[in-house]
């Protein structure tokens, strides 16, 4: 397969920003009919490299050739004309347009009276069908389908321009296992038709499952191009982080499960908390220093339950107690005052305030609790910002940078700092490690365990079962917006156990004292 000529050849790419060399002489070759993974930690230069290839950034040095023809991209249109299509990290479609319009945007079919919508939608349907998405209604609004489906629509959109090269930047970060499988089958299908695919993902499993070749970057430099099959995982990891694999200890592996004393007062306790159309009544007790995992498939009600606990949505039934006394948690503000904090899964829309600085983003929630007219004294604010940026290793270590200019992992750390600054007793983390690189992921996992050890209660929501099992003391399993089990993590639990629990959920499974 690799005998043929590369369709894209990037040689010695250098990109400079004021004061920084983002890329320094990086090479990348993409071959038709191959899935190629671009590997590296956050900040390694993956996104910059992709932006160079898609014409977003102008290169300061090096050359790009497509189909053996040298190219100078002065904008994204040039790259598109050269046959390079992209699906970005965060879905970047117009949610207020219909699915069909999104797929065909800029490529609508014209009739004598302007756009012929009927034909355009028919064409959109054909494109969707080739990706096995024929069940989608082309006229439905994009916002009416799940984020996961929107992602697949974005890929359909990229294919509209008859691409020779398809770039998928973190396409799987918001998909669940089934959807990932669906995506991979689509990717293989596209690959087999002779398209070169550039794939970026933080999930090593996925890299090994679907890619043929790897290029590894580190700190803006080129490390190696290797065949996926011939490269063991630990070797790949050490190429990426520049340390040997052994140094990355298995976080949480040595963790001893926390046991609940009988008669102990829970920090937070909900009884029959639910909201119509969102989640059925759930009862859970959360104890001091406990990590409570919430496991379940996408759409099982994990996030919805987290939001109820935080008052982001208003529960319409149930009792909510903090330290044994009734608490009226119906807004985020009231939750924060009750020392409950929630880090959202939707970092971009509900988490960061993009045009504010890192410093302001960290102080925001603390300030909201104190009230508008009691500003955090400057010295205290400096100390808080400094402390958390150091503890959580936020990069770049400049509190006055706008948060939107940070990588996903660092944004996540800033948000974590925001919640920690409020000194919560109960911290709800919804997908805190999604879409961030291995290094940051490990740091956040480590932080969760440390916080629990210091006595904070943590509700840990993740679609990665392995992560949930490794970090949690107890695991609440959700399915179809109901709690189907609560499992004590006594060391014998594996992701398999949870998968089976979900699969056999007609039978209510409980191996700990608590009933569903």
């Amino acid at each position: 397969m690799s005998e043929n000529q590369p369709i894209v050849e990037m040689q010695g790419i250098t990109i400079e920003f004021p004061g920084v060399k983002a890329l320094d002489g990086v090479n990348l070759r993409l071959f038709p009919g191959e899935i190629h993974a671009l590997m590296g930690e956050n900040g390694a230069g993956k996104s910059t490299m992709i932006k160079a290839l898609t014409g977003v950034y102008k290169i300061n040095g090096g050359s790009i050739s497509v189909d053996s023809k040298p190219q100078t991209f002065t904008g994204t249109a040039d790259a598109q004309n050269a046959g390079i299509a992209t699906v970005y990290q965060e879905v970047n479609l117009c949610t207020n347009l219909s699915i069909g319009e999104n797929v065909m945007l800029g490529h609508e079919l014209h009739g004598p009276l302007g756009i012929n919508w009927k034909k355009t939608h028919a064409q959109a349907k054909r494109h969707l069908a080739t990706l096995g998405l024929q069940h989608l209604d082309s006229h439905a609004s994009l916002s009416s389908i799940s984020i996961a489906m929107q992602q697949l629509v974005a890929i359909a959109r990229a294919m509209v321009i008859d691409a020779k090269v398809l770039i998928l930047d973190e396409p799987t970060s918001s998909l669940d296992a089934n959807e990932v499988e669906h995506l991979f089958s689509i990717m293989r299908q596209v690959r087999d038709s002779g398209v070169a695919i550039l794939f970026v993902s933080h999930f090593l499993d996925q890299i090994y499952e679907v890619t043929d070749r790897l290029t590894v970057l580190r700190n803006g430099t080129y490390i190696a191009e290797v065949m996926t099959k011939e490269t063991p995982r630990d070797e790949l990891i050490s190429m990426m982080i520049g340390k040997s694999a052994g140094e990355l200890s298995q976080i949480g592996a040595k963790k001893s499960s926390r046991t609940v004393e009988s008669g102990e007062q829970p920090v937070a306790s909900v009884e029959g908390l639910g909201k119509k159309g969102s989640i059925k009544p759930i009862s859970v007790d959360i104890f001091k220093g406990q990590v409570l995992g919430l496991a379940g498939l996408l759409g099982s009600g994990r996030t919805e339950f987290g939001r109820l606990l935080f008052g982001a949505d208003k529960a319409d039934e149930g009792v909510y107690k903090l330290h044994g006394s009734d608490a009226n948690i119906d807004t985020p503000a009231s939750a924060l005052r009750g020392k409950v904090a929630y880090s959202t899964e939707n970092r971009r829309d509900e988490g960061i305030v993009g045009d504010l600085t890192v410093r302001e983003n960290i102080l925001l929630a603390l300030q909201a609790i104190r009230g508008m007219f009691r500003p955090v004294p400057k010295k205290e604010a400096d100390a808080i910002v400094d402390k958390y940026m150091k503890e959580l290793n936020v990069r770049p270590a400049d509190p006055n940078k706008l948060i939107r200019n940070l990588s996903g992992g660092n944004q996540q750390k800033v948000l974590l700092a925001r919640w920690l600054a409020t000194k919560p007793e109960l911290l709800i983390l919804d997908e805190p490690t999604r879409g961030i690189d291995i290094g940051a992921k490990a740091e956040i996992q480590q932080t969760v365990l440390e916080l629990a050890e210091q006595g904070m209660s943590v509700v840990f929501i993740s679609s990665e079962l392995e992560e949930v099992v490794r970090l949690s003391d107890d695991i609440v399993v959700l399915k179809d917006r109901r709690k189907i089990a609560e499992i004590l993590n006594d060391g014998t639990i594996s992701p398999e156990t949870i998968v089976q629990t979900i699969a056999n959920s007609d039978v209510e499974t409980t191996n700990s004292g608590k009933a569903a």
Partner: protein
């Protein structure tokens, strides 16, 4: 980089970075525009910058003084508008709130009400109208554009109801002197209304930046949902900015009517919402919301007053004044556009690339 053709006379880098910083700063261009207008006026009227002491008013007099006097009202509405725009809203009703405040003060004064009470009622009414805007936008979630457009229409109607459609004149009413002084008097030789306006802008600035108000307003303007999730009550913030805008518009209305002690129910405050929006845009606050600059807007307000002064000084034909206004504002906005500001840097870069390519061929 060893190529001699690319090498230029090196400036000390500290100086260069300082210059670059200045060039990138939006305020710089506002100041440049202001100076350019003053220079233009001085060319047409050599006496433009001359100041003399006027014993009748107890203050300085001269073209610049009347300009500052007129700028006071723009300072007020531009400040309120800045906060509203920062929440990604807009307040089209400021001109109408001005006429309502002016109408009630003149009407009360002419029917024998105490001047201070009249002022208080006018300010209170501005506050109430702002609160209605705020309540509709924050609690009912109506679009700011529509809400304040309705208030703009209703406000002028209300002003006419207050004065029974008359242009109430209180210039001869005894006891109106304090109000008259506010718009026409002088403090230390400078116009009292300008001084008052600057103090109010400074107070709002302090309130915004020394408390968390500014950050919260910006936060809500940038990402309302994320702000709510961070424990901020966006409704409270939205309500607040419209109330402030209404109150400041009432102050502006007092300035405008007290200047001649006469309200003109169809002219007072007319089109001034546009001036306020222009001042905000010139000042560098995005109409999409987010980061705001009160200093920038204040400068924008003074530029608006200066443009109007320029129109009088140059004797521009009345039919052409809107066009002149538009051209000046467009020039300022274009100068401030990041693309234009980066143009010189871009030129340098391109030249360097060309030079190096030539060198490579040679």
């Amino acid at each position: 980089m060893t190529n001699p053709t690319v090498k230029r006379v090196a400036e000390p880098s500290a100086v260069r970075s300082f210059i670059q910083r200045i060039m990138r700063n939006q305020l710089t261009w506002s100041v440049v525009a202001l100076i350019a207008l003053i220079v233009l006026c001085t060319i047409f009227d050599r006496q433009f910058l001359s100041l003399s002491y006027n014993p009748r008013t107890g203050g300085l007099s001269g073209p610049m003084i009347t300009m500052l006097q007129e700028s006071a009202r723009y300072l007020m509405i531009a400040t309120g508008m800045t906060l509203v725009v920062s929440t990604s809203g807009i307040d089209l009703s400021v001109g109408s709130v001005m006429v309502v405040a002016g109408a009630i003060s003149m009407q009360l004064l002419s029917t024998g009400t105490n001047v201070w009470l009249s002022i208080l009622v006018a300010l209170g009414l501005g506050l109430v109208l702002g609160a209605i805007n705020g309540a509709l936008v924050s609690l009912l979630g109506l679009q700011p554009f529509i809400t304040t457009l309705i208030m703009m229409l209703a406000g002028r109607g209300l002003a006419k109801v207050i004065t029974s459609g008359q242009n109430t004149d209180a210039s001869t009413v005894a006891g109106g002197e304090p109000l008259k002084w506010i718009a026409n008097g002088f403090v230390l030789g400078l116009p009292a209304n300008f001084i008052i306006a600057v103090i109010i802008v400074a107070l709002v600035g302090l309130l915004a930046r020394k408390t968390a108000m500014g950050m919260m307003i910006e936060s809500v303007g940038i990402n309302k949902e994320a702000s709510r999730m961070a424990g901020i009550n966006p409704k409270k913030i939205l309500f607040l900015v419209y109330v402030v805008s209404g109150l400041l518009a009432a102050v502006a209305g007092l300035f405008a009517t007290a200047s001649v002690m006469r309200v003109d129910v169809s002219k007072t405050g007319q089109d001034l919402e546009m001036y306020a929006i222009l001042a905000v845009v010139i000042g560098g606050t995005s109409l999409l919301g987010g980061k705001f600059s009160l200093l920038g807007s204040a400068l924008g307000a003074i530029i608006i007053a200066m443009i109007r002064k320029t129109i009088i000084t140059l004797g521009i034909d009345s039919a052409a004044t809107p066009a002149f206004f538009a051209v000046v504002v467009i020039i300022i906005c274009v100068m401030q556009a990041p693309k234009i500001r980066n143009l010189s840097a871009e030129f340098k870069r391109k030249n360097a690339i060309k030079a190096s390519q030539k060198a490579a061929i040679a």
